[in-house]
Point group: C2
Chain length 87, copies 2
């Protein structure tokens, strides 16, 4: 059994309205030194396999089909031993 951390981010050239709203909120609150905010998604997936090659293939499929929109997002992931205590 392994835990996989998957990070799905907008491609750099894609506008991020959610990040822009957060940045405007921070400026309103007085945090004027924040010059950019990009909002992304992050998933922790537990998979019942210890075969890293198999896991890599399956996570690639899952990202392409479900977790990421390949037109506007990229993803990366890391495979960890289970259990892992960090958030």
């Amino acid at each position: 059994m392994k835990k996989v951390k998957i990070y799905v981010t907008l491609k750099p050239e894609v506008l991020d309205p959610q990040g822009k709203v957060i940045m405007n909120t921070l400026h309103t609150l007085g945090y004027k030194d924040i010059s950019e905010v990009r909002a992304s998604k992050f998933f922790e997936v537990t998979i019942n396999s210890d075969d890293e090659k198999y896991i890599k293939n399956e996570i690639d499929e899952i990202c392409d089909k479900v977790l990421a929109n390949p037109n506007i997002e990229t993803y990366r992931f890391e495979i960890l031993s289970y259990p892992n205590k960090s958030v």
Copy 2:
């Protein structure tokens, strides 16, 4: 100028309906070996300061006030040099 990566995750004891829906979708698609999915948020913030102590204080405030709900979420962050090419 520094880039800060901020990870906001639900506390382990808090139910994650979004993660549950994703897991059910994956099972429907045939990925039966996925036993848990937790969905979280991930922010990349650019800040016009190089003082790590100042940045740490400001990011703690921003997380507590805007990015995370301290009742149900925890956060961690890492301060990187700018520019950083990784997603």
